[in-house]
């Protein structure tokens, strides 16, 4: 039985288990999504959007869909995966199951809690009916698959005029209790008018057992809301991730999604921004540093529907060994979206001959009074720059690392949580195989 068949045969049992009476709309949503997945299955390379991103090796495993063992983890053993230097809310899952022990949630003035309870409890019904699965792509069978099996994940609802005093960390651990595990977290983030929230998310396996995560997050930013979302992708080389993030913004809101992809075997990021109001700013940043046979694919879409909005997109990639990078940046400027300012940049450095990058900007502009710029570069390290550093006594390897760090720096500069910035910088140094010999 292949993975698709396995998923199809387990759907009914799953629905029976999680469904409750209050959940009729959710039930309908799941069923509809399930039919879509059943009809279309997983995408193949014949699909234009998946041309350079073969899923085959990810799908070949015999995944456990619903792990039965409950594994506890001590905080001390996983502390390094938290930004533990700062106070934060935490929503933590172990093998897809909520861990109250590692979490720190709240219902005081806002809801920072679990998707599963929000889907079930009547008091959340109105919110769920209003927001759940409202902005996901209905043409993406992988997202449909997640919707069909949606049950657990983070649920964050910040009412209006609230500046959250500390960031929220969402961490999905897998323990290796199953030889091959598939996880499908589903999260919902709703940020009210004038409110401000910072979120750090990561998927982390604790062993080298195979894990495949198909994650979907919907983010709603109301008028003048500010959302900063950081994704740390530094998983084990046996982990694969498809991470789809859908963002809807109302007028004057600012949402940034920052994706740091260093680890994993296979990573596909789908990022969609839908602007529903004027004077919106959408910010998309990414740093990818990979080697071996790793693959990272960043697929982005920004939908400019209203006038006077901006989008700023900056993706930097460093590819060593036989790694593969894919960047596809779609920007759609609707006819109504006059005075749009859309900026897109994708810069790549290829370190070894065996590495590949496929980059494709896609601009579809239907308005006439707009400023849209895009650029992609693929290069190598500048020999003159390298000589400059070495002539000051900095050995070749360190000099290369310093230049690569400098190359990624402008995307790094956007991180607004200092401790997180330090952490990411350390991960970069680590990934580049050097001690960057300076304080940060």
């Amino acid at each position: 039985m292949n993975l698709k068949e396995k998923l199809i045969t387990s759907f009914l049992a799953f629905e029976n288990k999680v469904s409750t009476d209050t959940e009729t709309t959710v039930h309908d949503t799941r069923s509809k999504a399930f039919s879509h997945f059943e009809k279309n299955g997983f995408p193949t390379r014949k699909d234009e959007e998946w041309k350079y991103t073969p899923l085959k090796s990810v799908l070949k495993h015999d995944y456990t869909l619903f792990p039965t063992t409950n594994t506890a983890i001590e905080f001390a053993t996983v502390k390094e995966y938290f930004i533990h230097e700062i106070d934060s809310y935490k929503i933590v899952f172990i093998d897809g199951v909520y861990s109250s022990y590692l979490s720190e949630t709240t219902h005081d003035g806002c809801d920072i809690c679990l998707m599963s309870s929000s889907l079930k409890k009547p008091k959340y019904k109105m919110v769920i009916d209003h927001y759940f699965d409202k902005i996901t792509s209905k043409n993406d069978s992988v997202t449909s698959l997640n919707t069909a099996f949606s049950n657990e994940g983070a649920y964050i609802h910040i009412p209006k005029n609230t500046v959250l005093p500390k960031p929220i960390q969402i961490i999905h651990f897998s323990t290796g209790s199953e030889a091959q595990l598939m996880l499908q977290p589903r999260s919902l983030v709703i940020v009210g008018e004038n409110s401000h929230v910072q979120i750090v998310e990561r998927h982390q396996s604790l062993t080298n057992n195979v894990v495949f995560t198909n994650s979907v997050t919907e983010i709603f930013a109301a008028k003048r809301a500010i959302v900063d979302y950081y994704k740390i992708q530094n998983d084990k080389k046996t982990a694969s991730l498809i991470d789809s993030t859908y963002v809807q913004q109302k007028q004057q809101s600012i949402v940034s999604v920052n994706t740091f992809s260093f680890g994993g075997n296979f990573t596909r990021n789908n990022l969609e921004f839908h602007q529903e109001g004027e004077h919106i700013d959408s910010i998309l940043n990414g740093i990818t540093i990979i080697g071996d046979k790793q693959l990272v694919d960043n697929h982005t879409l920004v939908n400019h529907n209203y006038p006077n909005c901006e989008s700023h997109e900056l993706y930097k990639g460093i590819y060593a060994d036989k790694s593969t990078g894919v960047f596809n940046g779609k920007v759609i400027v609707k006819q109504a979206a006059q005075k749009t300012n859309a900026y897109q940049q994708n810069n790549n450095i290829i370190i070894d001959d065996g590495a590949t990058i496929n980059t494709k900007p896609q601009l579809e502009i239907f308005a006439d009074d707009v400023k849209c710029s895009h650029g992609c570069t693929i290069g190598q390290l500048d020999e003159d720059a390298l000589f400059y550093l070495r002539s000051r006594g900095i050995p070749k390897k360190e000099a290369e690392a310093l230049l690569l760090y400098a190359f990624a720096n402008d995307a790094l500069e956007k991180i607004k949580i200092p401790e997180l910035k330090t952490r990411i910088t350390k991960l970069i140094a680590n990934k580049l195989g050097v001690e960057l010999g300076f304080e940060l």
């Binding site: 500048d382 070495r390 002539s391 006594g393 400098a406 720096n409 402008d410 010999g437």
Partner: protein
Amino acid sequence: MLEIKNLHATIGDKEILKGINLNVKAGEVHAIMGPNGSGKSTLATVIAGKEEYEVTKGTITLNNEDLEDLAPEERAHKGIFLSFQYPIEIPGVSVTNFIKTAINETRKASGQEDLPAKDMLKKIREKAELLEIDRKFLSRSLNEGFSGGETKRNEIFQMAMLEPKLAILDETDSGLDIDALKVVANGVNKLKSKDNAVILITHYQRLLDYIVPDFVHVLHNGKIVKSGGKELAHELEAKGYDWLK
């Protein structure tokens, strides 16, 4: 200190240096002048070890040690410093952090511990003062958005920090107004001692009014065609280079 014998160097198929002989002793200042394309900058980068150039004949020795097989960083560790005409911008790495890295890597190469933070700060403060560099400047990203004067001042600041045995200053005077030139020259003069040596590479005699050379060499078409004392610079200023060709 530095001894160059019959040095030939090529880049690609093109021979740029065609038999250079030069002897620089400790305590001396040498000026190398010459028209554009004569090979001045090539000579500087070949001494510093740029790998794109191939030395096809001849030798370069520093204190009797052949430099041929040494990487640029190893030459730096032995005490060679090259001030660049066009230094590279390094966003995200401050002037301070860069020089700390350079100093500690150099120390590491000779088996020394990192310089204690307190000593490092003290040294940075001293040298910054010498070159009239303020503290804000030190926390800026290296060479990013620097003016011509700031760039050169920063190069000499790094030289002051690294305390090389042999400093090669490539067109350090270009892009400097007279005030900046005086500051830079003053810095170089104060760093000069009987134990180190300086090679100035320059187009114009102007810099030599402030840093007075013991010897002046004229480079033309990859060879030193004339050597003399500081008065040669004045002669070149008056007559140009044509009479030497």
